[in-house]
Amino acid sequence: MTQLDSPKNETLEVGERLATEALIVDVDGFEGPLDLLLSLSRTQKVDLLKISVLDLARQYLAFIDRAKELRIELAADYLVMAAWLAFLKSRLLLPPDPTEEGLSGAELAARLAFQLERLQAMRNAAAQLMARDQKGRDFFIRGIPEKLEMVRHVTYTATLLDLMQGYSRIRTKDEFRPFVMDRNNVFTMEEALTKMRGMIGFAGDWTDLASYLPEDWRKDPARRRAATAANFAASLELAKAGQIELRQSGTFEPIELRRRCDW
């Protein structure tokens, strides 16, 4: 919090000042190089507008050197700042080179001073903001808020289309039959399997698959097709299970089956 206070270090004694310069090599305590610079600048007895950026650069570089001596790991941005300040220092010390483009050393120094001043200003502003009356601490909201009651007014409506669809729905109710698969002429493989399982035990030798068709499934072509397909699929299942053997002497010849002996 003391960081947020306006600088009161202006009254520091020379001894203290030196101590501050030399000894605080605790980089952890600073939030980046700008923060460090701001702290160092407080050791100068002037306000930020009149700060000697040259002195500040010297202080910062000395600080970084000291940190290096102590083998303190410095974050990259501290080193970048150090390099930049070294550059700034040389610019400030050497007479300006008229051929060189860009900002002069004095201008760069002014920018740095501005940045420091702005950071300090923001810290002061933050402190002022937090010192304001705050909700829930200094002033309070309504303790028993009243609920906004919702009153619904419902109007019902329908369209002519709704009306007509409603009517047609009633009038065609009798015609309506829910869709179901017509299973009259379907002989399932499960049925075929059950039937065949019961029969293969009695047939000792090769028998035609067609002979396994149930009596009432032989005449009607649709029923016959369904039963044949089911029986064929069932015979494949049984062969796969190792219960029967299948043979066919040629294409379109009857398929014959017999029970496996080892079964």
């Binding site: 009651e149 007014h153 002519l160 009306l163 007509m164 009517y167 009633i170």
Partner: protein, 220 residues
Amino acid sequence: MNETENQENISDQSLFEAPPISEQERMIEAILFATAEPMTVKALNERMPHGCDAAEALVNLRKRFAGRGVNVMKIGNAWAIRTASDLSFLMQKELLETRKLSRAAIETLAIIAYHQPVTRADIEEIRGVSVSRGTVDQLIEMEWIRFGRRKLTPGRPVTFVVTQNFLDHFGLESARDLPGLKELRAAGLLESQPAIGQFISALDEDEEIVNEGQSELFEG
């Protein structure tokens, strides 16, 4: 020395001298506003500085709020600031909602429109289910149906007919303008499809009607 004595006097005073009553009023105003529940006089006094008299300040505060948008009210033996009762309508928000009429109501309405005048028994026979009182009441309340003449059958049951409101709402000149079953089917308005065989013949039957071009009827 003198100064210290003086200061002591002041703090002594403030220990025993209560804030002016107008200040106490402010305090109660703030407390009643911010607390989550009504406060008893005792609780108020406990909160306020030593020497305050909440009961007296409350009387003043209550007068001050008389006739205002909120009032200081006694609830049980505790006090609270509440909305003035004549303004309670501000705490309500009216929601206008439009809902589709229920299927039962639409079907009942349709039967009345197509077959009017019909008795309740007629409706039940056509729909195949009993008609709830609520459905009929709702349609009457909407002013879409009304009672017609009693039927000249045993028991002289009441009949229902559709109203002018109904015709206005549905944009009809008269109930006779309602399209017939075949026209409905021609316009693809039949929800349930007849079994395939029936459907094919229906297509043949209805061909003419399609050509008559009734479809504009359904555009409304």
